[in-house]
């Protein structure tokens, strides 16, 4: 739903919605968070961003949250945090500073921090619109397409073959046999490798190249711990459907490709 559509929908429907709470669930994608809403209110009221009337803004902000609730929308906690911040600023404006505080920040405006954040947010919001307006590859401009199977074939003459879990375990066993016998008088390593770390490593590796070989993952550090952790990380990635596993041929090397290809739907 576009912004203007959402706006009209709310205006038209708000008084009529009384009996429809059960039937309708509306996703209002109008404001991307409290900062966006605040900026909108400031613009709407033609306020100077450096001299915001907290009372006006807070009232309208709370009205908006109330409206969201009336429309049976889930009010994100972030909106409530901002409401609390606004009320806090207002209360600080109303209360006289005591001597100690006055000495600390004499001319400090309780709004200053909020204004700074708003300006910064506005900057990035606009930057987002500017980069979003560029001609995007795959949307406005196109390059010559090299299809995935073609690419895979070029990189791996063996031709991919989907493997099952057993073959993966088998490859893992072969790898474990290959590692040198451990010496037992080693000092325990300082920090142990976590599966989460390993997952991130694999994901970033997969971002750099389309396919990764199992051996590549463990090549530089061929220890039992490393291999086991890598293996568990791969299983976890499979479970999350983030990667697909191929094997060149029987007892051949195992390849990984990201399961999610470019044809992603919008979030």
């Amino acid at each position: 739903m576009s912004r203007s559509e959402a706006r009209h929908f709310i205006e038209d429907a708000a008084p009529l919605l009384d009996g429809f709470h059960e039937q309708y669930s509306v996703h209002l994608d109008k404001f991307d968070g409290p900062m966006d809403l605040l900026l909108h209110l400031i613009k709407k009221n033609e306020l100077d961003i450096y001299d915001i009337s907290i009372a006006v803004i807070t009232r309208q902000y709370l009205d908006y949250i109330k409206l969201m609730k009336d429309l049976n929308l889930e009010v994100a906690g972030d909106f409530l945090v901002m409401a609390a911040t606004l009320l806090h600023i207002k209360s600080r404006q109303l209360l006289p500073l005591d001597d100690q505080e006055e000495a600390e920040d004499e001319e400090a405006d309780p709004r200053a921090e909020l204004v700074r954040r708003l300006l910064e947010y506005q900057q990035y919001k606009e930057a987002g619109m500017v980069i979003g307006a560029r001609a995007l590859l795959g949307r406005e401009v196109f390059a010559r397409a090299v299809t995935e199977p073609f690419l895979l074939a070029a990189q791996n003459e063996e031709g991919p073959l989907e493997v099952n879990l057993f073959e993966l375990v088998d490859a893992f066993r072969v790898l474990l046999i290959r590692i040198p016998a451990e010496s037992f008088h080693d000092v325990a390593p300082g920090d142990s490798l976590s599966i989460a770390d390993c997952i991130n490593e694999i994901l970033s590796l997969l971002q750099e190249k389309e396919t990764v070989q199992f051996d590549d993952l463990v090549r530089d550090e061929l220890t039992r711990e490393r291999i086991i952790v890598t293996f568990l990380a791969l299983l976890e990635l499979c479970r999350l459907k983030l990667i697909r596993i191929f094997q060149g041929n029987r007892h051949g090397s195992i390849w990984f490709v990201p399961a999610v290809t470019q044809t992603l739907s919008e979030e």
Partner: protein, 201 residues
């Protein structure tokens, strides 16, 4: 474009599946001097710019690539399906923050946006425009994020420096901002503060 070297380079760029860097081209053509290759490359770029055909030679993500001109989008999409690489406003905002402020942690992004960014970040990671750079050496060791090569490729940027500066963006925006504000019909809304139309003008 008379020289053969330009044609050789053109053939290399034409057949590479992603943007190919000047260095890589120089390495491939080791029988030529680097300066020669560079000169031929700029000759090639000039040729394609002057030619003004359906595609152009663009410097993108630190390399060179042939791409169709945006003008012909509507025709190209008749036979090639446009990828749904659509970015929502929140995705673009988050991407802008990552691009301008990298390396950055999720908490820092959320502080700037004032809203939870987990979902948006995940989808940006899936679209591969954002990547995990590592972990920050502070308590909790949070992940730090940055933009990827795909980000430059998709958004047609030569490098991160070719992003418009935040100052330039602000300057672009200043004039129309005031014009828009003057056009808002504020009088009526203020006179009759009906509950339903309060936050929406």
């Amino acid at each position: 474009m008379s020289s053969t070297l330009s044609s050789i380079i053109e053939s290399i760029i034409f057949t590479s599946d992603s943007a190919i860097s000047t260095d890589r081209i120089c390495d491939l053509l080791d029988e030529f001097e680097r300066d020669e290759v560079r000169a031929a490359l700029s000759e090639l770029a000039e040729f394609h710019e002057a030619r003004g055909g359906g595609f152009e030679l663009v410097a993108v993500a630190g390399g060179w690539q042939f791409r169709t001109r945006a003008t012909y989008q509507s025709y190209v999409t008749r036979h090639i399906k446009a990828r749904s690489s659509k970015f929502s406003q929140s995705a673009l905002e988050t991407l802008a923050i990552v691009a301008y402020r990298q390396p950055i942690t999720r908490a820092e992004i959320e502080h700037l946006r004032g809203v939870d960014c987990g979902g948006v970040l995940k989808s940006l990671l899936e679209k591969r425009v954002v990547r995990i750079l590592g972990k920050k050496d502070i308590p909790g060791r949070p992940l730090i994020y940055g933009t990827s090569k795909e980000f430059l490729e998709i958004f047609g940027l030569k490098d991160l420096k070719s992003l418009p500066t935040l100052k330039e963006i602000q300057a672009l925006d200043e004039v129309p901002q005031y014009e828009r504000q003057e056009e808002l019909p504020l009088g009526q809304t203020r006179a009759v503060p009906v509950e339903s139309d309060l936050p929406f003008e």
